[in-house]
């Protein structure tokens, strides 16, 4: 019984250390809002107009960057969830006075992993949480056994129990 308790204690400590080392250090980038990056093409737009649309777009809430490329005639925009893409498209169309659409890039050919990247990236986080939960459970088991034993020993010695009750009251 004593051996089990010691084993549980050390297992809890080592799992706790494992969880701590699996945790990624907090980075200032963790607090940055999610962004969307997109390129927009206008049906017909002059370079000067494109530039002024980019400058205007940069002032809209939620737009973190906007640039007009003279060569490709594309408008590159990065924006947060503060502005929806539908709203952005409407605003861009109005600013440019021309129909605008999101440019869809053709992905390079080749084998594609069926599992989304988000799942892969979340695996260490899930492992970290599982490990933390496991170590907490082990510690609770260890502590409950420890207290149960203490209660039992107090019950065996009623005069000590009475004193402790008196002290706590």
């Amino acid at each position: 019984m004593k051996r089990t308790r010691i084993f549980l204690f050390f297992l809890a400590i080592s799992t706790g250390f494992g969880w701590f080392s699996l945790r990624k250090p907090h980075s200032p980038t963790d607090d940055l809002p999610m962004i969307t990056v997109a390129a927009y093409e206008f049906q017909k737009i002059e370079t000067a107009r494109g530039r002024s649309v980019a400058e205007e777009a940069r002032q809209w809430p939620g737009v973190t960057a906007a640039t007009f490329n003279e060569g490709s005639q594309l408008l590159g925009v990065t924006f947060t969830g503060e502005i929806s893409e539908k709203n952005l498209l409407e605003k861009l169309g109005a600013a440019a006075a021309a129909p605008v659409a999101r440019k869809v890039f053709t992905e390079p050919m080749g084998a594609k992993c069926p599992v989304p990247t988000a799942v892969f990236a979340k695996i260490p986080i899930w492992l970290g949480w599982l490990s933390g939960l496991f170590s907490m459970l082990l510690l609770l088991t260890f502590l409950s056994k420890f207290f149960r034993k203490k209660e039992k020993s107090l019950a065996d010695r009623p005069h000590e129990s009475a004193i402790s009750n008196h002290l706590f009251i």
């Binding site: 980075s27 980038t29 962004i35 390129a39 960057a65 640039t67 590159g76 990065t78």
Partner: protein
């Protein structure tokens, strides 16, 4: 006699204190590139502008098709770029992404594509009027990565 001793002690203490003050001034550390660039908010603004430049650049935007299509990958790329610049310039970040060699293996990136990317970064730095010294220092940090990116 006792007074003169106290005075001597006070003078000595004053001398030591003033020496410490001067030492402190002498050891004032110069600002890191991270601080001179304007911290995380400035770096994040430059990186967003850089990504905007990249997607509008027909020389390289097709390379980012999968990243642009997946919001999670976009976020990962952006945060990795910020972390890389932040850590490289002496900021409080840690780059958690793959090495440049690992992440560009099999992509067969050409010198022209690499130069286009650098051009987009320089344009982003220029947009925010980053001084030449800071620009050069930053490019000197990122420049050595070229061998791990081109032709892999």
């Amino acid at each position: 006699m006792r007074i003169s001793n106290s005075l001597r002690l006070a003078a000595l203490a004053f001398l030591m204190a003033s020496t410490l003050v001067f030492c402190d001034k002498d050891e004032e550390t110069p600002k890191t590139l991270y601080e001179r660039l304007g911290g995380i908010s400035a770096i994040s603004a430059v990186v967003d502008q850089f990504l905007g430049n990249v997607v509008a650049d027909n020389t390289i935007n097709a390379r980012f098709a999968a990243t642009v299509a997946d919001p999670f990958r976009t976020q990962l790329l952006r945060n990795n770029l910020i972390d890389q610049i932040c850590a490289g310039s002496g900021g409080p970040c840690q780059y958690k992404g793959k090495t440049m060699l690992e992440s560009h293996k099999g992509m067969n990136i050409t010198e022209a594509e690499f130069n286009a990317l650098v051009g987009d970064l320089v344009a982003a730095l220029d947009k925010f009027a980053v001084p030449q010294t800071e620009k050069d220092e930053l490019l000197a940090i990122l420049g050595p990565m070229k061998t791990d990116i081109v032709g892999q």
